[in-house]
């Protein structure tokens, strides 16, 4: 990753201009050609550094719901339970973390009732209890990684 990449990715993490020719608008800002931007972005997509450009919809605005949940999974069952959870479509992220609650996952459902349903499903499938920690207040959401 060179200086150009860093500029480009830092800029893009702040959003894409919502205009007819977004790459041309970026080219003017970054003082380079739109062609160069598109070519480099295609390479970064191809090698898996980037996944896509565009909007990430806010599921809650669309009537959907999220929650953060955790479980204490016995070590000998960790792989089995991971597999069970990863096959449930509502499980959006699943991380192992260093704590007695060692499995942390995000549930994303089209409706708030879906969350309760998914939790019941996970508890029934695994025989483990789920710690449900829905957010009460958002202070900041801005995944941004200065490069």
């Amino acid at each position: 990753m060179d200086e150009f990449d860093r500029h480009l990715l830092n800029r893009l993490q702040h959003g894409l201009p919502l205009v007819r020719d977004p790459w041309g608008a970026l080219a003017e800002e970054l003082d380079c050609s739109a062609e160069r931007i598109r070519q480099r972005l295609q390479e970064l997509l191809d090698d898996g550094t980037l996944t896509r450009f565009g909007p990430m919809f806010d599921i809650e605005q669309l009537g959907g719901a999220f929650t953060l949940a955790a479980m204490t999974v016995p070590e000998q069952r960790f792989a089995e339970v991971t597999e069970l959870l990863n096959n449930i479509p509502a499980v959006a992220h699943n991380y192992r973390r260093e704590h007695a609650f060692n499995m942390w996952f995000v549930l994303a459902c089209p409706s708030p009732e879906g969350i309760q349903h998914s939790i019941a499903e996970i508890e029934a499938l695994t025989g483990l209890s789920v710690l449900n920690l829905p957010k009460e207040k958002t202070y900041h959401v801005g995944l941004h990684f200065p490069l």
């Binding site: 020719d21 977004p22 997509l45 806010d58 669309l62 953060l68 992220h93």
Partner: protein, 165 residues
Amino acid sequence: MNSALSIAQQQQLRRMLENGLALTSRPYQVFAEQINSTEQAVIEHVQGLEEQGFFRRFGIVVKHRALGINANVMLVMDIEDERVHQVGEALGEAPGVNLCYRRPRRPDWPYNLFCMVHGRDRQAVEAHVIELLQQHNLQQRPHHLLFSTRAFKQRGGRYNQTGTI
């Protein structure tokens, strides 16, 4: 919402938007052709969605591990109810804090404020969190750093249900 697009066109556009913009000079023109509409109508619809807060963000989706961001920690704290709002606002604006939420305490879970901090490696993230706690005078509050050791599943928040927006 008022839109020049029919409901079917809106739904189709939404699915295409979730897959991302084309790397061509007129990406909205590409969408317009797919749904038999005009570039202008598509841009106006997308602007309407943005203004109404339907997007969490509109930019790139990076695979942070591919960019050398290898460590992430969930910092959890127990902050007094009377000042959790103020502390949340302050930490939410602090550099390096990517997400900050208040969540409920539970009988077996004593923490009510959660921050996600990412960084190149564990040492850097840990040092940053210690600095944050000091700056905000929170070292004495019960807290815990939950490092992630593995990610088993990661997907973006996609919305594939039918319905209108």
